[in-house]
Symmetry: C2
Subunit: 106 residues, 2 copies
């Protein structure tokens, strides 16, 4: 019945791994695994839904299009990104897996 | 803009700490901190909404009324508890804080 965010991570990760863990009409919960991946330069996420995101392990930096200062994330850090607040993953640690839990909701 | 699940935990915790981090009409995301707390004997949660729950730190054991075997949880473990699946917290580690992230949704 239980699962682990730290298991079943592929040995090779050419791109960020995004998997839906559960979902309903107005919520979608994902595990994301990054291994040094970042958003392409000048790419911004511009999402219809709000996103609660928790950094579970690893290390990352998020950037925002509206001038909000970059946010450095370590394990246990979370933020709630309102819909249409444009953001990108500026950096994730290449030396370890960064595991995120994201809850997209409206 | 960011917050940490591991900060602002009271030194004294007479009861389990439950705080809403964000919510919308069909979702409520909570941080729960347990310090050896467990549900009262013979008490079962019987919830209207589904609950995705992640153990972020610490250690815990959940029990279920329907005969589902107990689940031992360590950091990174998660489960999705359907609405009305009766469950209780049978045990949390008294030697450390157990931090949970719960997303209640329908």
């Amino acid at each position: 019945m239980k699962n682990s965010l730290f298991q079943q991570i592929p040995a090779v990760l050419p791109a960020e791994l995004v998997e839906t863990l559960c979902q309903a009409e107005y919520v979608r919960i994902e595990r994301i695994v990054s291994r040094g991946h970042a958003s392409p330069p000048d790419f911004w996420y511009d999402q219809e839904w709000h996103e609660f995101v928790l950094l579970v392990s690893g290390r990352a930096r998020l950037a925002f299009a509206d001038g909000t200062p970059c946010v450095e994330l370590e394990p246990g850090d979370w933020l709630d990104i309102p819909a249409h607040k444009q953001h990108r993953v500026a950096w994730t640690d290449p030396q370890q897996d960064t595991v995120w839990l994201a809850a997209h909701y409206r």
